[in-house]
Amino acid sequence: METIFHDAVHVLLALGLPPLLLGLIAKTKALFAGRVGPSVLQPYYDLIKLVQKGSVFSTTTTWVFRAGPVVALVTAGIAVLLIPLADATAPLSFTGDFVLLAYLLGLGRFFTASAALDTGSPFEGMGAAREVTFACLAEPAFFLGMLVLAKLSGSLQLADMLGSSLASHWSADGESLVLVLLSWFIILLAENSRIPFDDPNTHLELTMIHEVMVLDHSGPAYGMILYGAALKLFVFGALVVRLAFPMTGGSPWLDWPIFVGGMLVVAVAIGVVESIMARLRLTHVPILLVAACLLSGFGIILLVR
């Protein structure tokens, strides 16, 4: 009974919360800039509006272009089910599920990039090339961080790696975990095309990464992309929150609000980073990603020394 309750909350939260995070980031940025900004619920209105619109598909595109948004949304949706949230369990959980998590996101990225290439637009191809190049560097950092957690927990299951046992490791091997936390926050920013890597608001094709890949999508397809991106943000946010606050109080009435609070803090943190930093020059992006890999790598070295 309790598992059903937890799984139900998990699914509801994972489906309902992500757009709010986007709204909160936008609100934080607006406040920093001295504006009132759109309501935090704006992304929900956007999604509703997009779903009601019609779609335009270029005649040069094939089924790959239509499959792109669907696959991106579905893979992100499954990924959300793999992440342990407040109760430290996930609806889908088995040994080695973190590999599936990484490659689900990889599959989504592959189809988004393929859809971008399918349009034949040179700009979109450029964006796709950038996206996969940076993903190449972000993935090792993600896996090295997972390696630290696997070493600490002695398990290859996300529910154990990010489970309540993590709280006891914070006092003993806090340094490694701090390094992984930093590294994962950088990965969160990179994977979700946030500011030091990519500006989600920009409309200059030469500098865009993620946005340039989805220029040709419209209506419900674009809505799916937006929602899929929000889910991806939720996945990475949840990883960071579980790593930072691994405690479980025992009572679901306490755990879930703490988790949601953590997610909101992460969203505000992203908003603050976006407000106080400028976009990095494109050639400097790999440096930051390599630095993220190094951070996770040192986490391992500190652990096994």
């Binding site: 806090g174 400097h284 790999p286 440096i287 390599v290 630095a291 190094l294 040192f298 500190l302």
Partner: protein, 213 residues
């Protein structure tokens, strides 16, 4: 040793990589200053009894490394109208990877050192070796004279970390003397940068090979 010491040293280690990876001189100065402040705080965690001596040392170190020297360097930067770019001989990615290799070797090497019982598991020695290495890298692979001053500061930060092990044995006068040396060193270097700039119209050390006796 205190529980907080290792996390602080990790931050200091991370700052080494910031200094090697950041492309703006102002950013490097800020990172070195922050590292100086962190190092200034460290003796508070190493010392068991906080006497007047430790408090004074902490105050002087933070003031000098965190505020006076960085302010002075920013001033020199503005006076000599040096461009903000770092211009490395080895590119940023290469420097970062070299720094990582050096840090890894530092960690390995620190095991072979016959350290006192209470220091064997702490990060002081690896962090210090890695900072010294980052300082050497910066001294050798950056063209601008001001980056060499920063490399020297990093080097000194590394030595300061190593000195934490001996803090109880070093007389107060020696510690203050080292800080004074550092300050004078940076002061003189600042003046030299100014002169190089006035004489050659640039502070790139590449031109120094053209000097004739």
């Amino acid at each position: 040793m205190n529980q907080l010491l290792d996390p602080l040293l990790i931050v200091a280690l991370a700052l080494n990589f910031v200094t090697l990876g950041v492309s703006r001189i102002r950013g490097v100065i800020n990172a070195v200053a922050l590292q100086g402040i962190l190092l200034g705080i460290l003796p508070l965690f190493v010392h068991q009894d906080l006497g007047f001596r430790v408090i004074l040392l902490v105050g002087v170190t933070i003031g000098l490394k965190g505020f006076v020297i960085p302010r002075f360097l920013v001033h020199a930067l503005r006076e000599a109208t040096i461009q903000e770019e770092v211009k490395p001989l080895v590119n940023f990615m290469g420097s970062l990877l070299l720094g990582a290799v050096g840090t890894g070797l530092g960690i390995v090497f620190s095991y072979t050192l016959p350290l006192a019982e209470q220091h064997t598991n702490s990060l002081v020695v690896p962090a210090s070796l890695s900072t010294v290495w980052a300082g050497f890298l910066m001294l050798t692979t950056r063209k601008r004279a001001i980056m060499q001053v920063l490399g020297y500061l990093l080097l000194e930060n590394g030595i300061f970390m190593f000195g934490l092990l001996l803090l109880e044995a070093t007389p107060f006068l020696v510690e203050i003397g080292i800080l004074l040396d550092l300050f004078t060193g940076v002061f003189v270097m600042g003046i030299i940068i100014h002169h190089i700039n006035r004489e050659f119209g640039s502070t790139s050390t590449e031109h120094l090979t053209e000097l004739k006796g």
